[in-house]
């Protein structure tokens, strides 16, 4: 089985190196979750232990508090260059999930991300999204060019053949790069276990019989019933589960095509 994880890893490292070579000011979008933390590890693999790029975290101010504490400690420990993006204007105007979940995601995540890309002149962003997360992500390309308003033209995506990625884009376009698009949730946990990665404790049950399977903003993310206290427990649980990974994410269920609508505007 180890060779399958190696294959996933080798594919991802190839993509990361392509993107890094071709993109001006490539950054890594790091939510501190399991996927983007795996992605961060793959960046180290690609660059012989270095992280030659900035990390971006979009802080909605509604995150589960432990996430922010963990983020700051981890960034300090590993000496990471971290940009924290926030839509301060929207927050000052009182934006929150009570204004409507999709409206809130659009303002505090999508708009904040777009502003951060512009402010820091980022030519590209690497994201830890995966095809098996939900339907619209399943339709993604490894490299997805986004026009100046960040829109995902899902009805007219570029051809992406073999290992040839469309990284050559006009100046006002930034690319979204998805190096772990081909991984599954189970792959991620198998890999975290094999590589012995430091991972946020919220993913584990600390004795109350609940844990987070997917992390997000506190008001819109619920924990699941689970007694998985370690990686082995999580992997066993995933092999028999009857629910999807993002079942605890309220914004996904606002509308049948909620994710597609959010992502069309540039959501992660």
């Amino acid at each position: 089985m180890s060779s399958y994880l190696d294959w996933l890893e080798n594919e991802s490292v190839f993509i990361i190196r392509e993107a890094f070579n071709k993109t001006k000011n490539l950054a890594l979008l790091w939510s501190m979750g399991k996927d983007s933390t795996v992605l961060l590890h793959l960046v180290r693999k690609a660059f012989l232990g270095q992280v030659p790029m900035q990390l971006v975290h979009i802080d909605t101010s509604y995150k589960i508090p432990e996430m922010i504490t963990w983020r700051d400690e981890y960034a300090k420990k590993h000496n990471l260059k971290l940009i924290v993006g926030q839509n301060k204007q929207a927050l000052a105007d009182g934006m929150g999930p009570d204004k409507g979940r999709l409206v809130c995601c659009g303002a505090l995540k999508t708009q904040a991300l777009l502003d951060t890309v512009k402010e820091h002149k980022l030519g590209g962003l690497m994201l830890g999204i995966r095809r098996d997360e939900e339907g619209s992500r399943g339709k993604e390309r490894v490299v997805s060019p986004r026009s100046s308003n960040s829109e995902w033209s899902y009805k007219n995506q570029p051809a992406e053949m073999w290992h040839y990625y469309n990284l050559h884009v006009p100046d006002d376009v930034h690319v979204r790069v998805h190096p772990i698009l081909h991984w599954t949730e189970t792959d991620i946990w198998d890999y975290i276990q094999r590589e012995n990665l430091d991972i946020m404790p919220l993913y584990f049950d600390n004795g109350e019989g609940r844990r987070y399977r997917s992390l997000g903003c506190a008001p819109c993310t619920s924990s699941i019933e689970s007694c998985a206290k370690n990686l082995d427990d999580i992997i066993t649980e995933l092999r028999t589960t009857e629910t999807t990974e993002r079942a605890g994410r309220a914004q996904d269920r606002e509308d049948t095509y909620a994710m597609q609508k959010l992502r069309k505007d540039g959501y992660m």
Partner: protein, 636 residues
């Protein structure tokens, strides 16, 4: 840490066919009937179908976009990992509408096998044929044909049989092996995971068991030994060390191997193979993303193909390829395009090749979905491997400004003509009265050709002159054919293009043959960069008399010597096409001798060549270099 890495055993299957023939439905059905979809996702699709007042539609597991579900059409490709009965599959859905051909092609490019879906009511349609052609271009060799919607024709066996025969012929015509034709109903889930009572006349395996059987039968597939290829993605400098980062596309590489860079022609040796966090290792294998450290510092950039010095890729500026046009924007012969092979990108011009005898005006328009042969003329040389499909270095894409407009493979026959001219059949060889053996007897020794090949500045002329001096003074008939000297007269009409280099070597080899037949020890000193040309020289001269001597010398040493000032002129732009710099050098695979003039004196080199001649019975064993002092070469 893995000692031996091998590509994982995942069968990648794409489902193709005309729009509405049931591709997404089939894939959804496979996942559903094997229990691979979480209950809440099934519930979500059930609810969506109820809202839309349509029957439960398994295609919605793949067609997740709103427009796809509302119009019942796949817009884009997606893929799903599927584990069944201990086997891993990657199932790829591909849209069937011509407008989305680039999406179909994007999905199919990842596949190893195709499932071609045909609706038995509609029969073979435009995209059925086109998709078969595209699969063939993408290098897919096997297909399973699935005839769908049998429920709509009352499970009529004769309709199925007729269609099955036509489809098998169609696949065959595109060079695709049809493994089986299976009748199914994707919507009702018939004959997919288990046999259908309604089709008891079909006595083959249902689709999924058949796919499993095919996979099990190919489990013992061994890759054999493929030549080493690695694409160079980037060169990193961390902590004062340079790392040549890239991916092994085929074969394997070990520390200590001498490596060759194409198209630059540079040579170095692997001093270590680095990965993180494991550190240094001794070997790396196909599929691995690694970094190499080199013992000789050379300047190379992204785009090179790294190989061993023994088996190198082809390097050309002109090539012919079969491509599928994938852009809404039509082809324009006046446009400049970008050719990508491996990690290399070169500006190019593209011409559509019309079939001989077609007697038509040249094709200047290609529209989305057109499939044709093209001639690509690149601005600079590019490396590729037309016969090594597994390394993907025969696959190319053509881009216009920001868009991939075509994809295809390099055709097996090159655009470059390397055929040796053949004399008119009316020319008759006039046999002389004096034979070579008589001449050799009179000369007191046998004749031979010593063919010195290597970069400019590697010491070919120096060794040739010293050998001539030594042999002449020892009483031997000897002559030097120096490539540069011949270019002042016999070959003065030739330049340094690959074609002219080939012709240069052809003429030199015929001249060498004349001297050989006269019983001379004939020393040829010519860069002769192409393996193919030297092999042709070996044929002209005869294998027994042809002694290939590889004058190996690191490029950096040749550059520092620069006896003719050519390397300097390359940097100032006064010379182009210098071997090792802007023109490739393909080292001999099995030279009779390999002499490293950066480490050996001329006297040592002469001794080595004389030993070779003694071993071959050309010169007498009692005369050794030590006995007669050859003129020492000037100090290098």
């Amino acid at each position: 840490m893995v000692e031996v890495y091998s590509e994982p055993d995942v069968k990648k299957i794409v489902v193709v066919g005309h729009v509405d023939h049931g591709k997404s439905t089939l894939l959804g059905r496979i996942l559903l009937d094997t229990g691979k979809i979480p209950a809440d996702k099934v519930e979500h699709v059930r609810k969506t179908c109820e809202e839309k007042r349509v029957p439960f539609e398994p295609a919605f597991f793949f067609d997740a976009l709103q427009e796809e579900q509302e119009q019942g059409i796949s817009i884009d490709t997606t893929r799903v990992n599927f584990e069944f009965d201990g086997h891993r599959f990657l199932l790829i859905d591909a849209p069937g509408h011509i407008e989305f051909l680039k999406n179909m092609t994007s999905g199919a490019s990842e596949a190893q096998q195709g499932i071609v879906m045909v609706d038995c009511v509609e029969g073979i349609r435009a995209q059925t044929s086109r998709h078969l052609k595209v699969l063939s271009i993408l290098g897919i060799r096997e297909v399973i044909i699935v005839v769908n919607k049998l429920d709509k024709i009352g499970y009529d066996e004769s309709v199925f049989n007729k269609l099955a025969a036509d489809l098998a012929d169609l696949a065959d015509g595109e060079g695709l092996k049809c493994l089986k034709v299976v009748p199914i109903s994707a919507l009702l889930g018939e004959n997919i995971t288990k046999p259908s009572e309604n089709m008891s006349w079909y006595n083959g395996l249902p689709l999924l068991p058949f796919i499993l059987k095919v996979k099990e039968e190919t489990l013992d597939f061994t890759t054999g030994s493929e030549p080493f290829r690695m694409v160079l993605q980037d060169v990193y400098k961390f902590n004062d060390k340079r790392y040549f980062a890239g991916r092994v596309m085929s074969g394997e590489i070990a520390v200590g191997t001498e490596v060759f860079f194409s198209p630059s022609g540079k040579v170095s040796t692997v001093s270590s193979i680095e990965t993180f966090p494991q550190g240094s290792r001794q070997k790396a294998f196909k599929g691995e993303s690694i970094s190499l450290c080199l013992s000789e510092q050379i300047f190379v950039e992204r785009g090179e193909v790294i190989s061993s010095t023994k088996e190198v890729p082809e390097v050309e500026t002109e090539l012919s390829a079969r491509v599928v046009w994938l852009a809404a924007e039509p082809f324009n012969p006046d446009n400049e395009y970008l050719l990508k092979i491996g990690t290399n990108e070169v500006k190019c011009r593209v011409e559509v090749v019309t079939k001989p005898g077609a007697n038509k005006a040249p094709v200047t328009v290609l529209n989305n979905g057109d499939i044709t042969d093209v001639k690509i003329t690149a601005e600079r040389q590019i490396a590729f491997d037309r016969t090594l499909a597994s390394a993907n270095l025969n696959k190319l894409v053509i881009c216009s400004k920001y868009e991939t407009v075509a994809a295809g493979v390099v055709n097996l026959k090159s655009g470059r003509k390397v055929e040796t001219p053949v004399a008119d059949p009316n020319v008759v060889w006039e046999q002389g009265y004096v034979e070579r053996a008589q001449r050799e007897e009179q000369n007191g020794h046998k004749g031979a050709v010593l063919w010195l090949t290597g970069l400019s500045g590697a010491g070919k002329s120096t060794l040739a002159k010293s050998l001539e001096n030594y042999l002449f003074n020892s009483g031997y008939k000897v002559v030097v054919l120096d490539g540069d000297n011949l270019r002042t007269g016999l070959n003065a009409d030739l330049g340094f293009s690959p074609e002219d280099r080939t012709e240069n070597i052809r003429r030199i080899s015929h001249l060498a043959k004349v001297f050989l037949d006269t019983g001379f020890i004939t020393v040829v000193a010519a860069i002769s960069p192409f393996q193919q040309d030297r092999e042709q020289a070996r044929k002209t001269i005869g294998d027994a008399d042809f002694n290939e001597i590889f004058m190996f010398c690191p490029l950096e040493v040749c550059k520092s010597r620069d006896p003719k000032g050519l390397y300097k002129k390359v940097t100032t732009g006064q010379v182009s096409n210098l071997t090792g710099m802007s023109s490739p050098y393909q080292p001999p695979a099995n030279p009779a001798l390999r002499l490293d003039s950066s480490k050996m004196t001329t006297r040592e080199e002469v001794t080595a060549v004389i030993d070779l001649l003694v071993d071959n019975g050309i010169v007498k064993g009692d005369i050794k270099v030590a006995a007669i002092t050859p003129q020492e070469a000037p100090v290098r």
